[in-house]
Assembly symmetry: C2
């Protein structure tokens, strides 16, 4: 351990913490100046720059008794890396802000930083800077910076006749969260999916190269994200439930909790699957499954099996 | 007003808020995709990219009864724009995260966003994205992205024999804060200096062009920042008090509160003045004043009039 067991953030101090956290932050060759100066300095040689920022709040987006610090680090990084992937890009540089109570164990912050950096390493991104300060509640703030080397894929490019396709797990994290909320810890595979999502980062640039017309990452719920594509593209998106994969464990959880298993898949977030539209003639890259169709704008932005859906479509922030 | 008086963040909702806030965010020509997609897309045509992130926490870095929302927006932007300036760069793009209680007046968030954008406009920076979510306490998170078109100025380049120079107000904001802490509201010029700092953004690139050897912005205290230069450059920095300007109002406040007026100047932060070292042969650009000297590494990283200083050198984060 970097600090003795009872060391708090206040004991460790800002600079002691930064020293221990940044030990986990190897710097890629695009980084000319990493953490420690007023700003980081990056050499950007190709493509356009994509930027995305997100915040995660304790008690709202995560609970320390539901996941280890390193898992929360993986999730904090993953949700931003997925945003870059959803533009067809690859993140190369991240900043990490941590506001936290002074009595938080310093080891929590270091383990969190280690998980954060490990997730970044999956795509080759460096943690180039950040901030640490005290607050009543843990608030994590992340900015991801990446490169897009072909045309970026926006939410607004879907056309009637396009197929709607999904890549990555969907509904697993929501089921895992439902399990944790009830005080259980299994099925482990679903709980782990919530604790440490596995966004399909490489699938974003692959979809862009294949010719996707619109793309988004599923942070807040499949239908909610489909509605964002529909609104931006001025189309209707129809999701076909027969095409959605519901894993065995998810059926078991739904049955035990009296929930609709499809509810997790249609309304659940946090897996950071990628949702995209492709022109019908495009051969989908590996890992993508057709789950619906883009249609002319109609009575609702999103339909399920041709009908307006009455269930929860996603998460609300207030 | 964008919202009726009693509208809260919860009433306005995430997307209603984003709509009203982003009305204040004009987009510069480097912005190919601004707020509203998974990530912003920027066309970077020249120079290296500089990135800096900071967080501001209510009750810790600001109080709503001490400053208007728009002023807090100016400060939140200014402290990050100053970090970019301190590298010799100019910020072009910003992301803004706001975590806040659901019962916060929506108008506060909109006024905050307006002040934030107005400060960004001073250097031509666009607010290209961000995040909004609920939290128990207001936490503001900002990332500034800028360009450096000549060699960047780090903290680590100061050499013995260099002069130490300052550009911008120093100690004013700390005195203003001391006034507010005692429940007073004047002298107004100092309170306003705290509420809405005026960092000398253009002086950063000018110092870089003139040949500065090291630079930093004074966020946390003049001596604390001088110590950062000293540590990174492996030198001692001596500050000469006779060279420091103490405005009349600051003397009056010190006298009324029984404080040492120099204490505000030496230990105060939040003005975001720029502190730099220049080789002795360099002619200082306009606005810079010599306030000391860089010396061989000695018994302390920073001395005041040749002596180790016993007072507060700056602000601590925990």
């Amino acid at each position: 351990m970097a600090f003795p067991r009872d060391t708090t953030l206040a004991d460790a101090g800002e600079f002691g913490l930064i020293t221990e956290m940044t030990k986990h932050f190897p710097q890629g060759k695009q980084v000319l100046v990493g953490p420690g100066d007023d700003a980081a300095l990056l050499r950007i040689t190709q493509g356009h720059v994509v930027v995305s920022s997100d915040m995660m709040v304790e008690g709202r987006h995560f609970r320390r008794d539901w996941a280890e610090a390193s898992h929360i680090g993986h999730r904090a990084a993953g949700q931003n890396l997925a945003d870059i992937a959803a533009m067809g890009g690859i993140a190369h540089s991240m900043t990490l802000g941590l506001a936290a109570p002074a009595d938080l164990p310093a080891e929590w912050a270091v383990d969190f930083a280690e998980g954060f950096a490990a997730e970044c390493a999956l795509v080759g991104a460096s943690v180039v800077g950040g901030d640490i300060t005290s607050a009543d509640q843990i608030v994590i703030s992340v900015t991801a910076i990446g490169a897009v080397t072909q045309a970026p894929i926006l939410r607004s490019g879907a056309e009637p006749g396009d197929v709607l396709a999904l890549c990555g797990r969907q509904g697993w994290a929501a089921a895992g969260l439902a399990i944790l909320k009830r005080g259980f810890r299994s099925p482990r595979v679903l709980v782990d999916a919530y604790r440490r999502p596995q966004p399909p980062y490489a699938a974003g640039p692959e979809a862009a190269k294949a010719g996707a017309s619109a793309m988004i990452d599923v942070s807040d719920g499949l239908l909610a994200e489909a509605a964002h594509i529909a609104a931006a593209s001025e189309v209707t998106v129809d999701v076909r439930t027969a095409a959605l994969t519901v894993p065995e464990e998810l059926n078991a959880v739904a049955s035990a909790t009296g929930a609709d298993p499809l509810g997790f898949v249609l309304g659940g977030g946090d897996d950071h699957a990628l949702l995209a539209a492709f022109p019908p003639e495009v051969e989908l890259p590996e890992g993508w499954t057709v789950i619906g169709e883009v249609q002319e704008s109609g009575e609702a932005p999103v339909t399920v099996d041709g009908e307006v859906y009455g269930g929860a479509t996603g998460w609300t922030h207030f």
